[in-house]
């Protein structure tokens, strides 16, 4: 099994997609391919292989989103990379009102198989406009699949599945994950949507985390293990569709739940998972559900201010101990 970085794993998913389907086009190719750890000769080979299908558009997020939506309806499978996730707010209407509604409004006569990719999360020094975690908003769209990969293998496998999906799909990459390395299965690896990954097994407390927070939850689990607490870390991988069974199964085993979400705590992914467990696995709970998330404030620039509001392994471990108290 080859070892590669998260960024290169995603580029490999794109390369498999481009090679296998002439209807795949990449809009916003430069910021996805360049300076992402690919060998220069490999990057050049990609540009040379697909001169008409790797495109750098104008800085017009609205119309590039309309473009991929219109092109998807007309038979293509476009991939659009926005760069930083806040840039996609320029296209919020096109995502939420156009792409998300194509299938439903037409009663299934039309579909929009497109993939929208963005870099999100508290990256360090990004301040308020380059540190967003918009995942809960996309989960709320009704009509958008939402993918949050947390490892190189899942980055490749989930992105490949996103491009193969017949639905509009938002893939959010935490900027701090790009350099993460890991084993990725050989060849055209695919990971199905709606199947959670048990990142670590444990009996005492369930920690449900997404994206970069899976790494922090695993670090927290190491700390907790030193104190004799065995945490089970569940990574849903996709929020839409959500593997609610896997989450509830884990809580039925452990009786405790901590959710971790780098996004604003208010109406967050963590809130949804807490509500799900309260509805479906209440009898299994031995204590209150706790959420670790960003307080509902814009992300400040200065390092101590940023650190104060950013969820991390220590905060997760503290929450797990509180849940067990």
């Amino acid at each position: 099994m080859p070892t590669k970085s998260f960024a290169v794993a995603m580029i490999d998913a794109l390369a498999y997609s481009l090679k296998s389907d002439p209807n795949v086009v990449v809009i916003g190719a430069h910021s996805f391919l360049s300076d992402r750890g690919l060998k220069p000769e490999d990057e050049r080979a990609l540009w040379d292989a697909f001169p008409d299908r790797l495109i750098d558009p104008p800085t017009s997020e609205g119309v590039t989103t309309s473009l991929v939506t219109g092109a998807a309806m007309a038979g293509m499978r476009p991939f659009l990379n926005y760069g930083t996730a806040t840039f996609a707010y320029e296209a919020f209407n096109q995502i939420m009102s156009e792409a998300a509604n194509v299938a439903a409004m037409s009663n299934g006569q039309l579909r929009a198989p497109l993939t929208l990719h963005m870099y999100a999360g508290i990256r360090g020094g990004g301040a308020a406009q380059h540190s967003s975690s918009p995942q809960a908003m996309y989960a709320n769209a009704a009509g958008i699949e939402l993918v949050l990969p947390a490892s190189p293998a899942d980055a490749q496998g989930l992105l490949r599945s996103a491009i193969l999906s017949s639905n509009p799909t938002v893939v959010i990459t935490h900027t701090k994950l790009l350099a993460m390395t890991g084993d990725v299965p050989d060849g055209d690896h695919r990971v199905p949507f709606g199947k959670a990954r048990i990142a670590r097994e444990g009996r005492d407390v369930t920690i449900v985390a997404t994206s970069l927070m899976v790494r922090e939850a695993l670090r927290a689990a190491e700390t907790l293990a030193a104190d004799g607490i065995e945490a089970e870390v569940v990574d849903p991988r996709t929020i839409v569709p959500l593997d609610s069974d896997a989450i509830c199964r884990s809580v039925q085993k452990t009786g405790r739940l901590v959710t971790v979400d780098e996004g604003n705590a208010l109406c967050s992914i963590g809130s949804e998972i807490a509500a799900l467990v309260a509805e479906r696995a209440f009898d299994a709970l031995k204590g209150p559900i706790l959420r670790v998330a960003r307080p509902p404030v814009p992300v400040a620039f200065s390092p101590p201010l940023e650190a104060h509001i950013t969820p991390n392994a220590d905060k997760i471990a503290a929450a797990a101990k509180k849940a067990l108290a």
Partner: protein, 327 residues
């Protein structure tokens, strides 16, 4: 495509009678708001009847006329407006989002400027796949108040995309002013972005036909996008929020009967595209008055059957609301 004057008038009459039926049906069934295309018949019929299989159409909240002009089943369209199971979208889209992909219609956006944005995506796909088809964006002048329209025009020009931007300018100073642009000339916008353009009297069906023919020839010829502004006369019943049936049902004999054409709506009857088309054809001896009455009776009969179909169509089963979000 050669203009068939009789068929064109027949299509315009069906468009008019469709919208008048919508007014009656909306009252009878206490429906909410619809955006009617009364007054848009000439450009609608001239444009949509010249499209081919494989062309892609992007329309707006004011889409009824485009549907009927293209040949969509009026019964299914009316059923959709009524939210019925037999509607074009099974009641999921309603008046705002009617579509008929078999005839080239794609997702119908009620977001102002939405159709302009989506159309360049269709054009991109048509060009990439070398199908020879064209995309047509139908939109009002109000779309040019929106940023998405400028982004779309720019990228269409930049990539030389096969798209016809057809702007139905129905703005009128005062209450019915639907766009607020710093320029009075809408075509200054495509001009600035190096897009070929023209303006046409949107109430003159023959002029519209010729203008669309030239525009489509430009786009089909691989010359990039084209912007056609159809300057419409706004129907007096059309207001920003609701419509009022102030002019009453169209009496086609007003095309020749001076007594009927001299009421308080004389100005409308002079400029009404349907009456203008009938008047011109009679004056040139292409059609007799009786022919016009016959075509109108046919349109009325079709709409009576369409209404019967739509009203007989059941409401959708409630759990259909949960289906079809994902493929």
């Amino acid at each position: 495509m050669a203009l068939d004057p009789r068929a064109m008038l027949a299509r315009m009459l069906l468009m008019r009678r469709f919208e008048e039926t919508v007014i009656h049906v909306a009252r009878a069934h206490k429906l909410g708001r619809q955006h009617l295309a009364i007054g848009n018949e000439a450009i609608g019929a001239a444009a949509l009847t010249q499209l081919r299989d494989g062309d892609l159409i992007y329309t707006t909240h004011r889409n009824h006329g485009h549907m009927i002009a293209r040949g969509v089943d009026p019964g299914k369209a009316l059923a959709e407006i009524l939210g019925r199971e037999g509607g074009l979208c099974g009641g999921k889209g309603g008046t705002w989002h009617m579509t008929d992909p078999a005839l080239g219609f794609q997702s119908t956006s009620a977001m102002v400027g939405g159709s302009v944005g989506l159309s360049v995506g269709g054009a991109f796909a048509l060009k990439h796949r070398k199908t020879g088809g064209v995309a047509v964006a139908l939109f009002g002048d109000g779309a040019l108040d929106e940023g998405i329209a400028y982004e779309a025009l720019n990228i269409a020009s930049l990539y030389s995309l096969p798209v016809l931007f057809l702007c139905e300018n129905n703005s009128k100073e005062g209450e019915a002013q639907t766009s607020r642009l710093a320029t009075k000339e809408l075509t200054a916008v495509p001009a600035a972005l190096k897009i070929a353009f023209a303006s046409v009297d949107g109430g003159d069906v023959e002029a519209c036909h010729a203008a669309v023919e030239a525009a489509l020839a430009h786009v089909r010829g691989g010359n990039g996008p084209y912007f056609l502004e159809a300057q419409l006369v706004r129907w007096p019943g059309s207001h920003q929020i609701v419509h009022e049936f102030t002019t009453g049902e169209t009496d086609v004999s007003a095309a020749w009967d001076q007594a009927k054409a001299s009421n308080e709506h004389a100005e409308w009857q002079r400029t009404d595209p349907v009456l203008r088309a009938a008047r011109a054809l009679i004056a040139r001896g292409v059609l007799a008055r009786e022919d016009v009455l016959t075509l109108d009776a046919e349109a009325n009969a079709r709409m009576a059957a369409a209404r019967a179909f739509a009203e007989a169509s059941p409401l959708p089963k409630p759990d259909a609301a949960l289906a079809g979000v994902f493929v």
